[in-house]
Symmetry: C2
Subunit: 201 residues, 2 copies
Amino acid sequence: MRQPMTNKIQFWFEFASTYSYLSAMRIEELAAQHGVAVEWHPFLLGPIFAAQGLDNTPFNIYPDKGRYMWRDMERLTAQRGLVFTRPDPFPQNGLKAARLALAIKDQSQKAAFIRAVYSAEFAEGRNISDDEVLITCLTQVGLAAETLNQCQEPAIKAALMEQTKTAQAKGIFGAPSFLVGDELFWGDDRLDDAIQLAAEV
Amino acid sequence: MRQPMTNKIQFWFEFASTYSYLSAMRIEELAAQHGVAVEWHPFLLGPIFAAQGLDNTPFNIYPDKGRYMWRDMERLTAQRGLVFTRPDPFPQNGLKAARLALAIKDQSQKAAFIRAVYSAEFAEGRNISDDEVLITCLTQVGLAAETLNQCQEPAIKAALMEQTKTAQAKGIFGAPSFLVGDELFWGDDRLDDAIQLAAEV
């Protein structure tokens, strides 16, 4: 019997992030199994890396680390039965997708849209900064193509900047990250521990 | 029934590395359960970080990442029933310990010495560049105090430099790392997958 969802986990994700793809595709089902509700928190890693003096993802700055990450993603997606295509360019520009993820109010459409974007990017290898790709993701989950226009709304732009500032204030330095109260977990490898804690509190 | 140990895993570790402590304390038992032999490979991360333009561990360069790592280590050691003390200074200088780990030929003394050093550092909070601490670790595992002198042998010094070059040539960029054939795994979080692969090949 499922418990009522009084407990929650905040899922902080960046659309360009490979390991966020892994978590995005499994968090909702895993959380539900433990009676935990998921709060979706898109943010941008770019400004956080920039504050650290980095002008690119560490996976591009450090070639050995990058090579390893692609191989690790191949292995992990294969273990989980997920299709994996290396996006080109990498990292993708997830600005509009992140704004849309914030703009969509219905929680189940929001979750479905986020998964649709990650699938377009990492399963199909499509460019998620492309309006046509985003429209496909929106209509796939039952939203009008015109929803895309919300990317240009000042309130949504400001809300995403605010998200990124909140992430920094919470000590988030990478993605995916999970918050259960003030307890921070980093990386898809910690999702199970984070859900476990959320189920207990 | 245990399988004969025809399969092996290379364990690449740096004595200053917090997450290497986690792996060092469990790898031998886990490997034995899967019929896998452990090859112990001390190396130095300093030259590898230096080649990336870093003059310190990322945990000190990026404060949010550092703060997170200490909390993560607290949680993980508590889960595993390991004592954890934050060493001061951090990172510790593991140069002599790494040379000794290379110099000790008997495999079971080598493994015991490595665990003794990690315990001195991360359970007891002792300084592992201190000769007295290293002598305690040596004598604990049945080796003479004079073994310490091997730190100064040119052949041992050269062997450790060679190890670090080999690590770089294998694409190793952090610790702990595991090699099964040419397949590289990074981080204590991947130890189980690495052992699994070693057991299969």
